[in-house]
Subunit: 220 residues, 4 copies
Amino acid sequence: MTQTKQQSRAVRGTGVREAAAQSTRDGILRAATKVFARYGYDGGSVEKISRLAKSYDRMIYYYFGNKEGLFIAVLEGIYQRMDEAEAKFAPDANDPVEALKTAIRFRLDYYRRHPDFVTLLNTENLHKGKHVSKSPRAPEFSSHAVNLIARILANGASQGLFRSDLRPRDIYLLIVSTAYFHTSNRYTMSAFLGEPLDTPEAVAQWEAFVIDSVLRVVKA
Amino acid sequence: MTQTKQQSRAVRGTGVREAAAQSTRDGILRAATKVFARYGYDGGSVEKISRLAKSYDRMIYYYFGNKEGLFIAVLEGIYQRMDEAEAKFAPDANDPVEALKTAIRFRLDYYRRHPDFVTLLNTENLHKGKHVSKSPRAPEFSSHAVNLIARILANGASQGLFRSDLRPRDIYLLIVSTAYFHTSNRYTMSAFLGEPLDTPEAVAQWEAFVIDSVLRVVKA
Amino acid sequence: MTQTKQQSRAVRGTGVREAAAQSTRDGILRAATKVFARYGYDGGSVEKISRLAKSYDRMIYYYFGNKEGLFIAVLEGIYQRMDEAEAKFAPDANDPVEALKTAIRFRLDYYRRHPDFVTLLNTENLHKGKHVSKSPRAPEFSSHAVNLIARILANGASQGLFRSDLRPRDIYLLIVSTAYFHTSNRYTMSAFLGEPLDTPEAVAQWEAFVIDSVLRVVKA
Amino acid sequence: MTQTKQQSRAVRGTGVREAAAQSTRDGILRAATKVFARYGYDGGSVEKISRLAKSYDRMIYYYFGNKEGLFIAVLEGIYQRMDEAEAKFAPDANDPVEALKTAIRFRLDYYRRHPDFVTLLNTENLHKGKHVSKSPRAPEFSSHAVNLIARILANGASQGLFRSDLRPRDIYLLIVSTAYFHTSNRYTMSAFLGEPLDTPEAVAQWEAFVIDSVLRVVKA
DNA sequence: TATGAATGAGCGTTCATTCAT
DNA sequence: CATGAATGAACGCTCATTCAT
């Protein structure tokens, strides 16, 4: 009953019917990404999604089994797009300082321009990661980013620019923390600090500070 | 319109009935904090809360007006407790390095030991801070923490230990980001990295790294 | 349990406590008249009434036993006021034509200026008169109006102006029908006819038509 | 927003499922007419209706959007049936006196035999006609009755039987008032007058009086 | 006499999901 | 493949009413 039509279609040809189906499926997935990001898992109703996708509730069950299956598919989608974006962007490893700056900017930019990604991850953490643990593809997206940091750090260390006692994982987490938090908590933090965090000036200022700070941390 | 019984009782005597009422109200508030933290705003149903509080749905509306009013009261409660905890803890300002270390440890500890706080803030950010903006008491809790950092940094700068070109706000955000993220995203990050973030070892290791990093950032 | 404090107070003196109580009771009654007239019996909640009266739900039960008792008291009140208004107005019986005109005008005016009366009667008819049948005072208010018509008709007949084969009851009902309906159904009829019924012009025009028509009916 | 399934189905074929659906919808509409007529709008709960229709609450929202939409559909239904009944009945215009008698009898009979119609109209007037104003079909039902009266009066005037200075609208309202009131207020009026209004004798007597009176009013 | 607190049933409405073509 | 119809539980909230001072 939880078997969906996703797998079987993959091995068949891509006739006109399959294309139409693919577009229906994609439309639902796109709508679900928006709705779940905006309303959370519980707040995002099946009907909201199907209506936004201009489809029918029934189709969600046809393609994704149930609401949870749809949410997992959404998570996989945003992970994959994040991974693809990271794969495309390849900083020059020969200039470790510039490469690190670029990597930091990429993170800050990506979260800021994809608040849905952030919201969906928060939602998933609210559910203690129960959905992501059901997706076998999740870990495969993860190592690329850490590996990139590792290469940059190694290069910097070999050039005598960076410390050699650093764990790439820590630097990765440091960057991600500062980038993620700035988008994730922009509403409560703005209220807290009494100043907005999402103006271009505030964003640029934070970016400069983070880059400078990380460089101080890694400096040999 | 949604006038509640909260204010009027405070100025009156504390008879046996008032005490019982207070306990009913507090029980609901405590239950709501747990339920909202666990299930989010939409997932946290009024019935779940009243059942956990061993009370009745109706009493939630009696004391808090509606579900949103209850959620706002929950937010105010966790902010206030956080603020009180921060007020109690007063690091020795004469030793800026140690004071900064203590401040960082406090943050890391507080979030780690109060995951509800983190979850509720994420929920509130999911709703774009709409509830916190309705609470006039929210901003009053905010400045203490930044002021503390400011004093420490000023002290460190005057002793020639720290840089003098730092904005306290930035250091505050740096600490908070690293502390918050480690708790907030522990589930997805654990899955991502393939290793748990919430073991005592991982926590201790992250604490050491953050303290070391912040000190490198502020060092003159 | 359904015993109220209404009767017992009547025989006691009218001290300051009783006066305060009377004003509480009257305030509730006045508020209930408005609320029931506006929202009907089911739509008029106890809380709406007590809030409008700036009193407490509990007082309604104290003074009127329950919601139904309050509604009966409201009905008795509007009947009594109607009866008193009719008693005050005493047309000159020696001029039957003018007296009849005056009686008609009184009815038209009273309903138009007391739409609450009309609405409450409709509400009571919706409930098949179950409340009014519980009030022993209702019939005592009724005969005055018919008796007045009877006197006018008798006088007119004895002067050779009016028919002598008329039943006062029928003329009374004819007048009441045309007066009541014009107020009672003003909303649906306005929509139906595509023109408002409650403008001064429409009211005056209808009054003239009704007076002229009734006179044609009774004319010898 | 509250889009229902009503329109789209009308243009499609009438398969067995469509028929079943139609019967579900009609059953709800029939049940709602009874329940609203008996308990009013507020007193007529969604559950009462769905239970009487042997359906489910959910289907009311499926077919009618919400309770208000259902009530509007009920109003449209009774208007339409009234209109159809009036269209079927076509008195001989060549005999204006007899035609007028027939028209009066029709009105008196229709209200007496359809007390639901009367009750629903009163309910709608309680709500100040807010539902009927949302129905674009309401006015289309209205003019037929007035037009009929107009034709009869014109015919009578041209034959020298009726006055020529009459406004059809007034005669229409006169007839409707006397007919409507006798059904609408039968409960309170019976209690008032101390005699029942809905016995066959009382009905016949009132019919005779109204017919005689209207003829006296229109007589040349 | 007045008032705050409590109670359980019921309200209109939406939920995720399945059935039947 | 797509769609309309059906289903029962749960939702946030209000109801009339009673208890306890």
